[in-house]
Symmetry: C3
Subunit: 254 residues, 3 copies
Amino acid sequence: MRVAEFPQITSEILMRLRARAPRVHCITNAVAQAFTANVLLAAGAVPSMTLSPDEIGAFVARADALLVNLGTFDEERRDAVAAALEVAGEARTPWVLDPVFIDRSEQRAEYARALAAQKPGAIRLNAAEFAALAGSEAEGAALTRYALDTLAVVALTGTVDRITDGAQHAIIENGHPLMAKVTAMGCAASALNAAFLAVESDPFLASAAALLVFGVAGSIAGERATGPGSFATTIIDVLYALDGTALSEKARVI
Amino acid sequence: MRVAEFPQITSEILMRLRARAPRVHCITNAVAQAFTANVLLAAGAVPSMTLSPDEIGAFVARADALLVNLGTFDEERRDAVAAALEVAGEARTPWVLDPVFIDRSEQRAEYARALAAQKPGAIRLNAAEFAALAGSEAEGAALTRYALDTLAVVALTGTVDRITDGAQHAIIENGHPLMAKVTAMGCAASALNAAFLAVESDPFLASAAALLVFGVAGSIAGERATGPGSFATTIIDVLYALDGTALSEKARVI
Amino acid sequence: MRVAEFPQITSEILMRLRARAPRVHCITNAVAQAFTANVLLAAGAVPSMTLSPDEIGAFVARADALLVNLGTFDEERRDAVAAALEVAGEARTPWVLDPVFIDRSEQRAEYARALAAQKPGAIRLNAAEFAALAGSEAEGAALTRYALDTLAVVALTGTVDRITDGAQHAIIENGHPLMAKVTAMGCAASALNAAFLAVESDPFLASAAALLVFGVAGSIAGERATGPGSFATTIIDVLYALDGTALSEKARVI
């Protein structure tokens, strides 16, 4: 991938997402569910969110991608995750791991490490979560090593987003400070990453495109919003209308 | 009911709803809870949402209507539903069944069929859910037959809404495409349907009026919104301010 | 505290909150989680919300304040509350009790009375909830007596907010009628109260300041909003931007 072509490639993947309307099953926390569902819908995907171990298999079997977010870590979720990953593994459905808040609880970090070994397509996380997961600071060489170890794309978000599969690398300087002032922004980015995995077979491209779309939407929403409340509403509107022109104009990829 | 009078009748039921502020207990999924509560509050009802089997009886006993939404289908919810329906049955509290996503899981569809036999006042659903519930396509004769079989009003929403109790029929052509791009819109419509059952004894009129109110609010919000994010906010504002004049001007009932 | 100085004191506590970014762990209902998290983020705090009995201790141990909201009352929550209060008690982490809807279920009221005996820093509630909790009407002398009995600040919200620790008293006449038309407003006020307890050692001052901040934000949002949907968005924007000048201009404290 050449950086100059990346906005155009991203735009093509986004158009494909809208055309195919992939189903994304989300195991996520209650705080994030509604916002995550609305981000997926605005982007063109179709979310489902049941956690019942009895039926999650049926939902995942009909889904095109899966999100495993650890934001609520309880027995029900762990059972749901186990059942979902079994079906996803058989069907080779791509999935994203979002190890939310694993820096706050060692138990949660251990669980995330076990999941990271089960071949997620991508792991979307922040710097503190990366440190808890990988046991090293979130800088270039450590990200590369971790991606090579897990065979997963590492998609680190923050002031700057860094995406790598160990061989390819992208740095995205979009987004907006208000993204840190609205709950579930990271969770929604992970869900979007899963949606992109459903329509793009190169997990690196899919992950980088998802974060570029979300970052550009955030940049534009940040210009229009008057605070975090209107930002959360506006980023959904922007995502829904986002096109190749806006991506090309706003993308800051290096 | 004559179609020409329907906006006026709807307006009267809505005024009654605002005057009486009925309590609506909602068994619904976590994705939909906040939006559903805000739709009910904007319309003039008072929502409650506890699922604890220990206390749901006490809440339903004090409620004027009940919503049973299958969006999250787990043991806790099934226990809550059983406890709630027992109290609702004794008190003859009207209730609405919303068989969310039963087309995705046969287990869920079976459960919905069992609930449909327990005399809901109305069943609010989309075409795919109707097909899974009734085993036939969602067209006129099948809706009528299903309404006669279950003695429930069938309130089918989509591009066009169709409401029937088997004898009376209404078709509503309001709403807006953005309603399909915001999570929990159908769930909220079902909750509103329950609120209308609390203040109108004819379940057909109540259900048709609820869907007209929601559809007209959607039409107006669609004119004002710049995308699905602002649509979700605006439909709440519109619902809160909706009056007989707007209903008469905007209603498209046939 | 002299009333004339109160907006200035409140502004200082709010600045401290933004500077220190205290962690507030919230045990709250699913309806309220997202809005509560966004209110805390807008004010400058960092929310977490896990309920898993396995790990809630680790989260509370790293938190600067705790919210215990009874909005969803099930076994999982009660286990979470017990585990959280044990850690909070050892670490002397301040906590707020929000006895949501205890007027609807005697079981819930009993549970709230047991919690009120465990030394919350503040109890934030409405008049009906106070009556269920204290067994007497929510007027001045009863509030004072209850505060002295429990050694907790009583923070009663409604058209007028009344805050007392039994010795000091404040009455706040801010807020807006639309606050009653948006779900989770009271829950979010309680969470804000917890955040203020994290940065102000006098629980009376902390509670009164939190309710003044929320009330003034509500007053300003009410002037700008066109209904409850935009109100919910706008109050977050206003909270985020609130400063000493706005507090001084708008505060109505007696």
